[in-house]
């Protein structure tokens, strides 16, 4: 109970502090404004609040180093409240009213799609930190999360490998919306290409927030008892994962029998579950909190100090913001201005060390080169890396495994200067993204 009272106090103190910061910021002559477009209320608040705090921490850290171009950074936080159309309005407010120089924001693909026309019309710059389904490259967006070839494809490769258990049958389970549908389409094609027969692939979709997994887990068990090593590739999103994993545990599906590899389950999601029965299930990300590097130790320490709790975890989208923010700072320092087009051109080829060791590179298709890690869930809610790509993987905006997109490339440098250039017809479709 005491801790709750404490938290109430903390929140109060934080509000007072924020008001104070706003005041002092207003008094300063000129600042560089950093827009933060993450939901602080509604369904997505669970994931996005942490990212808002991450950006605030990075801004604070940069200011402690003396700011940028001799000016202080000022974070402008708005709350799009998990409401997709509101994302567009808030983006407009950030760009037109607050005149921010850069925006860090969004989580769901649908919110990003809603913001796209606005940042393109007003020529803003958005850093999008979450793994997504690809098939997009906008001039005004930098995608610092993983594209499908930086998460889904390596994960399946791992399962097919001897070390991953030489899996022969696949269940593709996902929540019913654009990211899982697109990812599963890509994966299905990829598996068929790899010689897995269609009857050994089971695809299953569930509604958002699905909580009754009995039938599906029982189906998975039956599907897995046909004499071939079976694994589940899960694009189940958000809250629905907790009851899914609980049901797996209750029905006795152990990771050594039927492993589940997830693309949307990170440290943050696991912190709400009793992970005992899940040990051994897998996840594919570009970052795990357990990564052993000095940069990571320092990052975690800073995060704990900033948020005021040793219990809070770090996760992959946080690293994406960390890389994106620092790359932006580097680019701005290099060109000496925050003007969007100049900074955009300076972004290409910019490098910054990953938290997992190695170097991230920003490519001309606005995606990063990052390593891919496979981790196993541990008793304490952390992941233990069991496999990683030998070097960084270049993010591919348009997947090579779908007939409609394999001839498309994105390259925002001249002479192509296009987000969806068709290499067969040598045409840009004319669409902006």
């Amino acid at each position: 109970m005491k801790s709750i009272v404490n938290r109430v106090f903390q929140v109060g103190a934080a509000t007072a502090l924020a008001a104070g910061v706003a005041l002092s910021a207003a008094q300063a002559e000129e600042t560089i404004k950093v827009g933060v477009l993450h939901s602080l209320s509604g369904t997505m608040a669970i994931s996005e609040t942490t990212l808002k705090d991450t950006v605030l921490m990075l801004v604070e850290e940069q200011n402690a180093k003396g700011g940028l171009l001799g000016k202080k950074l000022e974070a402008v936080v708005v709350d799009p409240a998990s409401d997709w159309p509101l994302f567009a309005e808030k983006a407009r407010e950030l760009l037109e009213v607050h005149k921010v120089d850069v925006i860090f924001g969004n989580w769901t693909s649908v919110s990003r799609k809603s913001v796209l026309p606005v940042v393109e019309e007003l020529n803003g710059m958005l850093f999008y930190p979450v793994q997504y389904e690809g098939e997009e490259s906008s001039k005004n967006v930098f995608y610092t999360g993983a594209a499908p070839n930086q998460q889904a494809i390596p994960a399946v490769d791992y399962l097919l490998s001897e070390e991953g258990g030489s899996v022969k049958r696949f269940v593709l389970a996902g929540t019913d919306y654009v990211y899982p549908r697109t990812t599963n389409k890509i994966l299905e094609q990829y598996l068929l290409d790899k010689g897995i027969p269609a009857e050994d692939i089971m695809i299953n979709y569930t509604p958002f927030g699905h909580s009754d997994w009995q039938t599906i887990v029982s189906d998975i068990k039956t599907f897995g008892s046909a004499g071939k090593k079976t694994a589940v590739v899960s694009t189940v999103n958000g809250d629905a994962n907790v009851p899914f994993y609980k049901e797996l545990g209750n029905q006795g599906v152990a990771a050594s029998d039927i492993p589940v590899i997830a693309f949307s389950v990170g440290e943050e999601e696991l912190s709400g579950i009793d992970t005992g029965p899940l040990v051994g299930h897998l996840a594919a990300w570009n970052y795990f909190m357990s990564a052993e590097s000095e940069a990571n130790d320092a990052f975690i320490e800073k995060w704990h100090a900033f948020i005021g709790s040793e219990e809070r975890v770090t996760n992959d989208p946080m690293e994406a913001h960390y890389i994106g923010f620092n790359m932006w700072v580097k680019a701005v320092e290099a060109v000496g201005t925050t003007e969007v087009d100049t900074v955009r051109e300076a972004m290409y080829g910019i490098t910054f060390p990953n938290l997992t060791g190695g170097i991230a590179v920003m490519n001309t298709n606005h995606h990063l080169t990052k390593p891919v890690l496979i981790g196993e869930i541990q008793e304490d809610g952390q992941f233990e890396t069991v496999w990683s790509t030998p070097k960084g993987v270049i993010g591919d905006a348009w997947t090579d495994f779908l007939p409609d997109s394999k001839m498309l490339v994105a390259d925002w440098t001249k002479p192509i200067f296009c987000g969806n250039f068709n290499i067969e017809t040598s045409k840009c479709s004319g669409q902006n993204y």
């Binding site: 709750i4 938290r7 109430v8 929140v11 602080l40 209320s41 369904t43 608040a45 669970i46 609040t49 001897e162 070390e163 258990g165 030489s166 019913d176 299953n204 979709y205 569930t206 509604p207 927030g209 699905h210 909580s211 009754d212 009995q214 039938t215 599906i216 029982s218 189906d219 068990k221 039956t222 008892s225 046909a226 004499g227 071939k228 809250d239 907790v242 009851p243 609980k246 049901e247 545990g249 209750n250 029905q251 006795g252 990771a255 050594s256 029998d257 492993p259 943050e268 912190s271 709400g272 579950i273 009793d274 029965p277 040990v279 051994g280 196993e376 541990q378 008793e379 233990e384 069991v386």
Partner: protein, 537 residues
């Protein structure tokens, strides 16, 4: 496949030697070296180390491997000692895994867990199975026999035959016979292979289906494939019956969840007629009460639910009474305003929880007695948490029915809902009864929330996920009738689960909604419509 077998052979040959010639004096140093190898980064080195640990024949091997399997082996980063740890205030107490002597206390990051992956888990499990096959405890032997059945390797034939010859326990004998048969299916003798398939046919163990499935799939021996196919088909028929039972069980358990979510609403909306949009948040408060209770008694999680149920009833009941007295009381007879006001209350409560507990989900631990399943056989297993939820649902329902039908408060409640003016003139303090009824409904919703906390996320959005379902159940069952709520919930649950395998979860949900729309068109008052003057007024 062959490589896997080859590897298993290496491991198994190792412990065959071990079982026959236990020689601890020499083996002790071997064990040290082998355990040290476990800390290597490469998983193939670890695999070799496991074989060596087994081959050492050291009596400590079982404990070491069990600890490794459960992720309990650590390496002290400074001294390099292999240790097991015990969490204490501000660090870990370490114990030498080999000698059992207590070592120094280290910080959390001072030790590094020795890694294991799923493939190694399989190997360690099989190795442990073989090591424990001659244990004194029947239970351990049975577990070992089952582990081997799930993962048999050809080199074990001799070991299994030896164990079978000594074994008296019928269950263990069956497992061992099946393991042997499973190995003969992939053996060299064609006649023995067919005979082995007939031994295995009719079994309801999924590990055996795996064996038969592999046999039916192979192309070299058509006779064997045909026999295995036939065996699988005969099992298929039995499986169909069990899967029907399973579906009904799933349906009833979903129904029980719906019932627990809706039963509070059956009082506030059903009996009182308040369109209570804040009902979902009462469920949420109940679930959060469970979380708070668990964090207050971290050492007694097993009993926490028994404290949480009354605590949740009181907390949400009081919140309910407060809402009724401060807001709803002023809005009786104005359903639209009530709807808006309670919707506002629900948003208020959600954001309050976000502010106090953070927007993140909170971990609620499931007590051990609620985890796991009761296996009727390989095809049908009933999960304990669902069994308890069904039982709890019936308990809550009966308790509520007794309160409404057998207590003075229940009588007054029904009187006030049926005819407020007359009840008032008979001397019933209607205001007080309203508050208590709303409190009862909210309290019961809180109790439902405790149950939900065991199944789903405990987060600020918990309520929203159940509010639509709750209204659906109450309206479908018939407003104002508890039996209607029960039958409605069970019908919807079972219908949903029967549709799901054919249509998928998304379409099943849509079909249920379409069905309810059509049903309400035909029977606007639901399954069990109230009759009499109360309805007309």
């Amino acid at each position: 496949m062959f490589r896997a077998f080859a590897r298993a052979i290496v491991v198994v040959l190792g412990f065959l030697a071990a079982v026959q010639v236990p020689n601890t004096a020499v083996a002790a140093s071997d064990l040290d070296a082998a355990v040290a190898k476990l800390t290597e980064k490469s998983f193939s080195v670890k695999e070799a180390a496991i074989a060596e640990i087994v081959a050492s024949g050291d009596p400590r091997a079982v404990d070491l491997l069990s600890a490794y399997l459960e992720g309990g082996l650590f390496r002290n980063k400074k001294t390099g000692a292999i240790v097991t740890v015990e969490k204490t205030e501000g660090g870990y107490l370490t114990t030498d895994a080999l000698t059992g002597s207590a070592l120094e206390k280290v910080k959390k990051r001072g030790v590094k867990k020795i890694r294991i992956n799923n493939k190694l888990r399989g190997i360690v499990k099989t190795a442990l199975g073989a090591l424990q096959l001659f244990s004194d405890s029947t239970e351990t032997r049975l577990k070992a026999a089952r582990t081997i059945l799930a993962n048999p390797s050809p080199a074990m034939v001799g070991l299994l035959e030896k164990a079978l010859a000594q074994e008296d326990d019928a269950d263990i004998r069956e497992s061992l016979t099946h393991s042997l048969a499973a190995l003969k299916v992939i053996g060299d003798d064609p006649a023995a292979r067919i005979a082995a398939v007939s031994t295995l046919s009719g079994s309801m163990d999924p590990s055996i289906w795996q064996v038969l499935g592999r046999a039916a799939d192979q192309k070299d021996d058509p006779a064997l494939a045909a026999a295995a196919q036939q065996a699988l088909e005969s099992i298929e028929n039995q499986k169909a019956i069990y899967s029907l039972i399973e579906t009904i069980f799933f349906g009833l358990s979903l129904g029980a969840v719906l019932m627990l979510a809706a039963v509070g609403l059956a009082i506030t909306f059903g009996v009182m007629g308040v369109i209570n949009m804040a009902h979902g948040e009462m469920l949420m408060l109940g679930a959060y009460t469970t979380f708070v209770v668990q964090s207050l008694m971290p050492n007694a999680i097993e009993y926490s639910l028994f404290v949480a149920i009354p605590a949740a009833f009181i907390v949400t009941g009081l919140v309910g009474i407060a809402i009724e007295r401060s807001i709803i009381r002023l809005l009786y007879g104005r359903p639209l305003e009530t709807l808006l006001a309670t919707f506002g209350v629900s948003l208020f409560l959600q954001q309050a929880v976000r502010t106090i507990f953070s927007p993140l989900n909170q971990p609620v631990t499931t007590p051990d007695w609620m985890s796991g399943f009761y296996a009727v056989n390989g095809a049908l297993s009933l999960t304990y948490n669902r069994l308890y939820i069904i039982a709890f649902c019936i308990l809550v329902f009966v308790a509520l029915l007794l309160v409404l039908k057998r207590t003075p408060l229940g009588l007054q409640m029904r009187a006030v809902t049926q005819n407020r003016a007359m009840a008032s003139s008979m001397g019933i303090r209607t205001g007080r009864v309203d508050a208590l009824t709303f409190g009862l409904g909210s309290g019961i919703a809180g109790v439902g929330g405790v149950a939900l906390s065991q199944l789903t996320n405990v987060g600020p959005n918990l309520g929203q996920a159940y509010i639509v379902d709750s209204f659906m159940v109450v309206v479908f069952g018939g407003v104002g009738n508890l039996w209607g709520t029960l039958v409605g919930a069970m019908t919807l649950g079972v219908a949903n689960k029967f549709m799901e395998p054919f249509t998928g979860a998304v379409v099943a949900k849509i079909l249920v909604l379409v069905f309810i729309i059509l049903f309400i068109q035909r029977r606007p008052r639901g399954l069990f419509a109230l009759k009499g003057r109360a309805v007309e007024s």
